[in-house]
Subunit: 248 residues, 2 copies
């Protein structure tokens, strides 16, 4: 068997998320598996670095798969020829047969984009969350600083039945504001993120930016380990899986 590591970017607007689930049509995993399987004329299963929800995008999502044939150098180009234009393969390279896109990931980077224009940028409807009210970005930065480090993020997870550890390490949260298009981008780096964790952190930071809660409430939410103590789940359209890093 041959092993391959692929990097894909997709506009998640029209998809029911990454993970193939029963008969749910139109998942990214399903679309990629079906297309690769048809091209190679064998049943291929792909393993993503993690799921993305319906409407969430990826700048660089990583997946791996095994197959019985050695692929040509132009396989990525050929695959792009068969895929819809909103899913693109950036690269596809031979890898160790021990490589596992999810288990071997050491760091993930997510970006959340907020359109702060008064009227709502008509070119960012699917790729940014529109918040027309004035955001206190300095307060949001202060609030974000409480997330940095190793914490139990149980309050920032939508999965109530989660039995595994909800402790994660957030390495960095950076803010970038582009005057030109009134776009606020918040980039999160960490060793991993729980289900909906980035969106709940963003929802909480937005509430802080709107002065609907104070910055210290984040410490209380982390300590309380109760989803009700955190803010709302920000919508999926602003979220991008930006990068997945591996020790190599």
């Amino acid at each position: 068997m041959y092993s391959y590591k692929c990097i894909t970017t997709y506009n998640g607007t029209k998809y029911n998320g990454w993970q193939k689930q029963g008969n749910t049509p139109n998942t990214l995993q399903g679309k990629l598996e079906d297309t690769i399987s048809r091209m190679l004329n064998e049943n291929v299963e792909i393993t993503g670095s993690g799921r993305t929800d319906a409407g969430v995008h990826a700048l660089n999502q990583v997946f791996n798969f095994k197959c019985s044939k050695q692929l040509e150098d132009n396989f990525a180009d050929e695959l792009n020829g068969y895929l819809p234009k909103d899913i693109r393969i950036i690269s596809c390279e031979s890898c160790s047969d021990r490589f596992h896109a999810r288990l071997n990931a050491t760091e993930k980077v997510y970006q959340y984009r907020i359109d702060t224009s008064a009227y709502g940028n008509p070119f960012m409807r699917d790729t940014a969350h529109h918040v027309p009210e004035t955001l206190d970005i300095e307060a949001m930065k202060k609030g974000a600083s409480y997330f940095i480090g190793t914490h139990d993020f149980k309050s920032f997870c939508s999965n109530k039945k989660m039995k595994k550890s909800s402790v994660r390490t957030v390495y960095d949260i950076s803010f970038d504001y582009s005057e030109a298009n009134s776009l606020l981008s918040i980039t999160f780096r960490g060793n991993g993120f729980l289900y909906n964790m980035v969106r709940i952190m963003v929802g909480t930071l937005i509430e802080i930016g709107l002065h609907k809660r104070d910055t210290e409430s984040i410490t209380a939410a982390l300590e309380g380990k109760d989803r009700a103590l955190a803010g709302h789940t920000a919508p999926p359209n602003g979220l991008f899986l930006a990068d997945v890093l591996y020790k190599e």
Copy 2:
């Protein structure tokens, strides 16, 4: 009668261009006129600074209209409440009753965006023209320099029956390349542009960038006054009406 000047931005992907024409559904002018007329309960006609073709976008399109009622200060916000999200009103202000969005315009700015990524950015499908082959940008800049100044642009116009002067002045053409997203933006400033003129100039520059024609062919095309001497018409999705300027 009261007179108003409005600035609008729209994603033209789903529209049959700016101009209302007979029964053509889904034009920007038609959508705006219908919505404003219904809000004010009177027949309003709007005058745009110029047409944009089907699939062409606007960052700042200007139009004016007259009506019998004085509008409230929050009219733009209210209008946005009734318009689809891919058409937004940036501002709506009282103006002189002699103001005419098309006749008074002294300068227009268009931007054309080219996605130069190998695989085609899935987030720019409607807002950039994808050219995966390597473009010689220096040659394109050299070619563009021949457009600057006052010329008869007859070869760069799709309207064969044009009886008015096809002499226009191009003030400036600037190139901006963003490494981050492999995006080449070409910005054209001039006192006015003929039908499809920017798209034909871009199509010609792309042919130069691909070494399918030489830079001097632009001089020959300008002098020859024959559409066949210029390049192809670049597709509409990369074109943005960026600004319309008035002497004030």
